[in-house]
Amino acid sequence: MNKKSVLVVDDEPHVTRVLRLALEREGYDVTTACNGVEALGKLQEGLPDAMITDLQMPKAGGRTLCESARRLYPAKDFLILVMTSMTAWEEREWVARLANTEFLEKPLSARRLTARLASYFNEQPCQGALHG
């Protein structure tokens, strides 16, 4: 079975670094982007099995990224985890409206993240090779 691919999107280098380390140790294939635009570019290159993104980023923020991703690739369903330190109600609304999109509260715990990913992938029926 191929490794699952995860796209990590955050403008904070520490976050991307730590997450990359944590996820790679769990056996995921990790790509990173530091803003929404870059992330969309990476999505074009190849859709991941899951995407973790921060909300507040330069150029294109987390919301734009998620909504664009869902609009552009409706057939392909992949988990989106939205990291946020702001628990504003507006954020809950649009996140709830998107399919397969969840919050991930900061401060992050790599353990929580990997646990969530694992449970998500265990639920999925086995799929064939994904371009990753």
């Binding site: 904070e12 520490h14 730590v18 380390l21 944590a22 330190s85 992050l108």
Partner: protein, 608 residues
């Protein structure tokens, strides 16, 4: 004078007039008659005395001249014509019927030849006027011719009565005529009198009930009383008027003062009547709501109110019962000035907490500052917590990593420790900056200025920043003019400012870059500058760099670490020292931040 008295008076006076007329006429008559008689008498006597004696007293029974004369000639008052001797012996006579010649001895000595005397009639009471004259008898004593007339009486004869009646009648008829004229003329007076009585009676000034009788004297006295009374009242009214004028003026003054106070209030005020019309509006309302006072005062709320929310609130107060209403507060952005924020406090006006509301008081407060302050404060809190969450996030993740198996990996451990250390430093810097900012913003923060040697001071800063510069392989240089004067600075604050500038320069420089710290004096200005050849600041962002939490995005799209507070703080500090910071920058070329301080003020340490 009473009417009947007037009548009596008129009658009496008319009668008197008539009597006088008649009297005068009679006396005139008498006089005339007397003259006549005298004329006649004397004439007759004179002519008779010229006749010879024989003719007058013919011998025997022959007719005397007397008889023939007076047979046919019988004047009205004629009594007798006689010839007598001196001692009164009658020689001849002609008498009127029923009369006799009165005895009346005469003598020659009696005055002039023709004389006149009065005698009493023997038969009647009447007086006789006798004219006599001597006649020569041809020897012996003279005889006398005597002619007697009755003196006219004051008696009214038959013809004369009709004459006098005709005289009296018109005179007498004048009486009722005059009377009625008078009555008519007095009618307005009567009316005036009645009115007066009414007026005076109404006021109760006269305890005696008005007399029905019209009396001119009473009228006069009433007029007088009325005039006096009116006079007194007018004086009283004048005084009252003066008093009222004064009171009015005082009220006006008080009102003006009150109005002025109301208009001077920083709040806008509106008073609505129960129908929702505005009865009072202070001038501030115009500016606050963007409406015209004229429109506000003339039309109902619907007409002039442009803000829906406000209109709805005000219309709710258009009812009578106080129990349905309470004070209401609302905040909104007025349409006319959307960047401001208004608070409306509407409250029903009632008398003693009971009964229907007689109006609504609306207070408009401009709470823009308050609101902005709140927003800024909320923003600030949001920013700060966001700023803190990032380092905490990193620390938490690296700690987690240290706790896990990867702790075996030395590199990971070192890296984790470094990151944790950096983030802690970052948070510490943030907290320090925030504390400084909060102190500055509270205000009243007086810099404790001391005389500072700039070369030493800048050297301190340089030493402080050198490790970081070296870590990033950036060349840090210091250049201080030799004769640079000392400056009056708050050392601690200024250190923060300068450290911020230098650390910014280092942060936004590439590896191998160069940062120069320079201090020099030029034209009364002390200039401390920090120049780098890093990524620079785009032109459109240069105006914003000194704003709180502002972080330039930089050309490479990467967010550099930092909270956006450093420059803000530096600017505030420099301004506290009565200086300014300027920025020259071009993207890709670098930035130069220059602090300008006045040297002249540095010599006046005591003023700071």
């Amino acid at each position: 004078m009473k009417n009947n008295r007037l009548g009596v008076f008129l009658i009496v006076s008319s009668l008197a007039a008539i009597a006088v007329l008649i009297g005068l006429s009679l006396s005139k008559q008498h006089e005339t008659r007397m003259e006549q008689i005298r004329g006649q008498g004397i004439g007759v006597v004179r002519s008779l005395t010229t006749l010879p004696f024989d003719m007058l007293v013919p011998p025997g029974q022959a007719t005397s001249v007397l008889e023939s004369l007076f047979m046919f000639y019988k004047p009205a008052d004629f009594v007798y014509a006689a010839v007598t001797t001196g001692d009164g012996k009658l020689l001849r006579e002609v008498v009127r019927p029923g009369a006799t010649t009165p005895a009346g001895p005469l003598s020659v000595d009696h005055g002039s030849p023709i004389g006149e005397r009065t005698l009493q009639s023997a038969q009647t009471n009447r007086t006789i006027r006798e004219f006599y004259g001597p006649v020569m008898t041809g020897g012996g004593a003279p005889a006398f011719v005597r002619v007697g007339y009755f003196e006219p009486r004051f008696a009214i004869g038959g013809q004369e009565l009709s004459f006098f009646a005709m005289l009296a009648l018109p005179t007498f008829l004048m009486v009722p005529f005059i009377y009625f004229i008078l009555i008519r003329e007095m009618k307005p007076l009567r009316k005036a009198y009645e009115k007066l009585e009414g007026a005076l009676g109404k006021k109760g000034g006269d305890l005696v009930p008005p007399r029905a009788q019209f009396d001119v004297q009473r009228l006069a006295s009433r007029i007088y009383a009325y005039v006096q009374d009116t006079d007194a009242r007018m004086v009283h009214l004048e005084q009252e008027k003066v008093g009222l004028l004064t009171k009015n003026r005082l009220l006006e003054y008080g009102n003006n003062k009150l109005n002025f106070v109301l208009q001077s209030l920083p709040e806008g005020l509106l008073v609505l009547d129960p129908a929702g019309h505005v009865t009072f509006a202070s001038a501030k309302v115009e500016a606050m709501l963007g409406v015209e006072l004229g429109a506000v005062l003339s039309g109902p709320v619907d007409a002039w109110c442009k803000d829906e929310a406000l209109k709805t609130l005000l219309l709710r107060y258009q009812t009578a019962s106080v129990h349905a209403l309470r004070a209401e507060t609302m905040e909104f952005h007025p349409g006319c000035a959307s960047e401001t924020r208004m608070r409306i406090i509407a409250q029903p006006l009632v008398v003693a907490n009971e009964g229907p509301a007689f109006g609504t008081l609306v207070v408009l407060q401009d709470i823009t500052r308050e609101h902005l302050g709140q927003c800024a404060s909320q923003d600030f809190v949001a920013h700060v917590s966001h700023e803190l969450k990032s380092p905490l996030n990193a620390i938490s993740m690296y700690c987690e990593m240290l706790q896990s198996e990867t702790a075996e990996d030395d590199n990971m451990r070192i890296q984790a420790s470094n990151v944790i250390h950096d983030e802690v430093e970052r948070m510490a810097a943030l907290v320090n900056n925030l504390l400084s900012i909060s102190k500055l913003e509270v205000g009243g923060f007086k810099p404790q200025c001391t005389r500072v040697k700039l070369d030493e001071f800048l050297q301190d800063v340089y030493n402080n920043q050198l490790p970081r510069a070296q870590a990033n392989r950036i060349a840090l240089e210091l250049s201080v003019a030799r004769d640079i004067p000392a400056a009056a600075l708050d050392k601690d604050l200024f250190r923060i400012a300068l450290n911020n500038l230098v650390s910014n320069a280092l942060k936004y420089s590439e590896t191998g870059g160069r940062v120069v710290v320079e201090a020099k004096e030029e034209n009364d200005w002390l200039i401390i500058s920090v120049q780098d050849n890093g990524i620079g600041v785009p032109a459109e962002e240069q105006a914003h760099v000194f704003k709180k939490f502002f972080r330039a995005q930089g050309g490479d799209g990467h967010k550099r670490s930092g909270h956006g507070l450093g420059l803000y703080l530096a600017n505030e500090i420099v301004q506290l020292h009565h200086g300014r910071i300027s920025l020259e920058s071009a993207p890709g070329k670098g930035s130069k931040f220059s602090i300008y301080l006045k040297t002249s003020s540095h010599k006046e340490l005591s003023l700071l």
